[in-house]
């Protein structure tokens, strides 16, 4: 059976690219969400992993950022694997997300797709 992956990103281009990429690998079933709140509402489906963008309020004003969503996910499902995404090469942000329980921190660029594919394979 295909693994169920949630992608949470308010940037439709990146979300679509990532979703297409994972689809192509043939072993993942991908659902994308534009905000963290939408993703939280579907958590009962218990995805195998969540790929979560750090900034999530570019289209929906006041949407919670990835760090808050990550903390809420872990409140209900402490073992859920979350890979954090960010356009920011920022050590502090990376550290905070890892400290909050993310398993990986991936910078959004041209290499991120292969990197995420590798991490998902290892999980």
């Amino acid at each position: 059976m295909k693994k169920n992956i949630f992608v949470v990103d308010d940037d439709p281009m990146f979300a679509t690219l990532l979703s297409d990429y994972l689809d192509d690998l043939g072993i993942y079933q991908v659902t994308t969400f534009g905000t963290g709140e939408d993703c939280l509402a579907q958590l009962a489906e218990k995805p195998d992993a969540i790929i979560l963008d750090y900034y999530l309020d570019s289209t929906v004003a006041g949407a919670k950022n990835g760090l808050e969503i990550l903390q809420q996910i872990h409140k209900s499902y402490p073992d859920l694997k979350v890979i954090m995404l960010s356009a920011q090469e920022h050590y502090g942000v990376a550290l905070r997300t890892i400290a909050s329980g993310a398993v990986h921190y991936v910078i959004k660029d041209t290499a991120s797709f292969d990197e995420i594919g590798r991490y998902l394979g290892d999980l």
């Binding site: 940037d11 281009m13 990146f14 679509t16 900034y55 570019s58 920011q88 660029d109 991120s112």
Partner: protein
């Protein structure tokens, strides 16, 4: 009509509001009232005037009106202005007599003198007035409703009229759109024609020039060397004419762009001399080329186009001069900081031109006379192109001439001193070719002669290069699955399967074959053609006939282990790889890029205008991955710089210049990506 206190009191009693008054009070009120005469059309009182009196029409008639329409027509026995007795506000309506009219006027003071001492009387009058007012209001409302219905009808009529006009305008717009499409279509076919012509002529020219060059390197005998030089010069001259025609079309279509790189004036002048020396000597002319040694050796500009201007002018001078000399002088008129004002002067002792000829000398397709073409040859486009190019440089061109004495052309240009001393892309660095040692190249090219030129050139330039030749896209597709290569040089137009189809097919193969670098090898070098190549999934494009340095440069850019050159033109290579060679997917990604950047631009502008630092930061931050994905590394770096500046607390004033450069790059990328989607 008899008017006395008794009749007036009788009139007052008939009024509803006064019917409640006892006889003595009525008598007193009648005594204290005034008789007023109004002519037909006379205004009895104006709107907005303070209201101090009540009027009763004794004979005649009046209309109550706001300035635009009549609310009521009043006859004998009607009264108006009752409220004025109780409240001294301004009146909301005017009253005008419609015929000669007699009225009874009761002032506030008279009314209060007669009634004011008895509050219960006052109370009764107020309650009558209130009822009456309510009734009047209802009447007014009714009137307003009637007007509304009328107006609605009017509006409907106007709307229908507008709809008819709108339909007509839409019809006209459709017509205009149709004409525009047709014009576009014809422009496209013109572009296509240019591309075809470019292809049809350049392909054999490529073979001629390339093979001549190869033969020249094979130690020909002395007499063969002469012939070969002859072929070389003729084919290069032919290329000049072809390029003239392509250039003027480009300029006229507004598609000519200058490249701003470092140029060496000495090199350009030396090229001009080398090209014209032989012709000048043949005619016994002295060709003097001089330049001011104070001119900085390296300037910023388009070397190819500057050389083209000078060659055109000096070439004309040689062509139209039978004896004497041709002088090309370059002076440094002024230098301010890095900016150099240059004055190029080309002076001949040739046939010269009459004032009539001078007037049209820079126009396209005009030579001084029809005779000139037959006698001297050429396209007649050179001066027109030179003028247009000079203007693209931001300079100006002037001419003075007398028939039989000679002509002088002046070109004034302002060029900046270049940062780099040499233009490395124009010269071939031997160590660069060394980096390509042992490269495995698949050459897909249908023309046998061109294949030979490509093969021999590659073998000459790259140590231990390994080349496999195929003749069409189908064979290329088979070859890449059979053996491994480092790079494919792919002709675009080939029989059986063209280069674009072959590229798409290769990109759809399983990894790692789908990642094989493919360089288009094309005779059509229009922007559209280059875009088509990139959209099909190619990594680069080199024009035929190619320069050695161009070929090596393109190979270095994609060869394994070499760092890919970043550029500020969108390069969908990454998106293409993610699209797995599916064109509809690539289109979807490109469209998403356009949507994302298209909505970001106005938001960034707003944030800048409003001084919203945090908002600006967020917007710029979200753009970065998209820029990297579309291959705009420089623009992504610019976004990163701006983001860092914002985060590190740079003053607000320092941000707009950076943001403006970013916006400019974003707008350009929309145009470029848009063209990829809809070339």
């Amino acid at each position: 009509m008899t008017i006395n206190t008794a009749t007036l009191a009788e009139q007052l009693r008939r009024m509803e509001m006064f019917s409640v008054l006892p006889e003595p009070v009525l008598q007193e009120l009648a005594r204290k009232s005034t008789i007023v005469h109004a002519d037909a059309g006379e205004v009895i009182f104006h709107k907005n005037q303070p209201a101090r009196s009540l009027y009763l029409i004794l004979s005649g008639s009046a209309k109550v009106h706001d300035n635009d329409y009549t609310v009521a027509d009043m006859q004998e026995g009607a009264c108006f202005g009752e409220l004025a007795l109780l409240d001294e506000g301004p009146r909301s309506m005017s009253v005008t007599a419609t015929v000669p009219t007699i009225l009874l006027r009761i002032d506030r003071s008279a009314f209060f003198d007669a009634v004011g001492q008895t509050p219960e009387l006052l109370q009764k009058i107020v309650s009558v007035l209130t009822r009456r007012l309510r009734f009047q209001t209802e009447q007014t409302l009714e009137e307003l409703r009637r007007r509304e219905v009328e107006l609605t009808g009017l509006v409907e009529e106007r709307t229908a009229e507008l709809m008819r006009q709108k339909e007509k305008a839409e019809q006209e717009a459709r017509e205009a759109e149709f004409q525009r499409r047709r014009a576009e279509q014809s422009e496209r076919s013109e572009q296509q024609f240019l591309a075809n012509m470019s292809h049809e002529i350049r392909t054999p020219m490529n073979a001629v020039i390339g093979m001549t060059k190869l033969l020249l390197q094979k130690e020909p005998r002395e007499n063969q060397l002469r012939y070969l030089h002859g072929i070389q010069q003729s084919s290069e001259a032919l290329l000049v004419i072809l390029n003239d025609i392509l250039d003027i079309s480009k300029v006229q279509a507004g598609r000519m762009e200058l490249e701003w790189t470092a140029l060496q004036l000495a090199t350009i002048l030396e090229n001009v001399r080398a090209t014209l020396q032989f012709r000048a000597e043949e005619k016994g002319l002295a060709l003097n080329i001089q330049y001011d040694p104070a001119i900085p050796p390296s300037l910023c500009g388009d070397p190819v186009r500057l050389q083209q201007i000078l060659l055109n002018l000096a070439g004309n001078a040689v062509k139209f001069t039978e004896k004497g000399e041709v002088n090309l002088m370059v002076r440094l008129d002024e230098q301010q900081g890095r900016r150099c004002q240059l004055h190029f002067e080309v002076r001949d002792t040739g046939i010269g031109m009459s004032p009539e000829q001078l007037a049209v000398v820079f126009e396209s397709f005009r030579q001084a006379s029809g005779e000139t073409t037959r006698k001297y040859g050429g396209t007649g486009l050179g001066l027109s192109i030179s003028k247009q190019l000079t203007e693209l440089f931001g300079g100006r061109i002037e001419v003075e001439s007398s028939p039989g004495v000679g002509s002088v052309f002046h070109v004034y240009l302002s060029l900046d001193i270049a940062d780099v001393e040499t233009d490395s892309s124009a010269t071939l660095d031997p160590s660069a070719a060394e980096a390509l040692r042992g490269l495995r190249i698949l050459v897909a090219e249908d023309n046998a002669l061109n294949r030979l030129v490509a093969e021999e050139t590659l073998e000459m330039l790259i140590p231990e290069v390994r080349i496999v030749n195929v003749e069409n896209g189908q064979e290329a597709l088979e070859a890449v699955q059979r053996e491994s290569f480092d790079v494919v040089l792919m002709d675009v137009s080939m029989p059986v399967m063209d280069g674009l189809q072959a590229t798409r097919a290769i990109r759809a193969l399983p990894s790692p074959i789908c990642n094989l670098p493919i360089i288009a090898f094309t005779a059509s070098v229009t922007k559209n053609e280059i875009n088509n190549c990139l959209v099909a999934g190619m990594n680069g494009c080199i024009p035929k006939p190619f320069q050695d340095a161009e070929l090596i440069g393109a190979l270095l850019a994609v060869a394994p282990g070499s760092s890919r050159t970043s550029s500020n033109a969108p390069n969908p290579a990454v998106l293409n790889r993610l699209a797995g060679g599916k064109p509809e997917r690539l289109r979807k990604y490109l469209q998403m890029y356009l949507d994302a950047v298209g909505t970001s631009i106005p938001k960034i502008e707003l944030a800048l205008e409003a001084g919203e630092r945090e908002n600006l930061h967020r917007l710029v931050h979200t753009l970065k991955p998209q820029l990297k994905l579309i291959g705009l590394d420089e623009t992504a770096a610019l976004a990163q710089t701006l983001e860092t500046q914002i985060l590190e607390g740079a003053t607000w004033e320092s941000l707009p210049p950076l943001a403006d450069s970013l916006l400019t790059a974003l707008r350009q990328s929309i145009t470029d990506v848009g063209q990829m989607l809809d070339p």
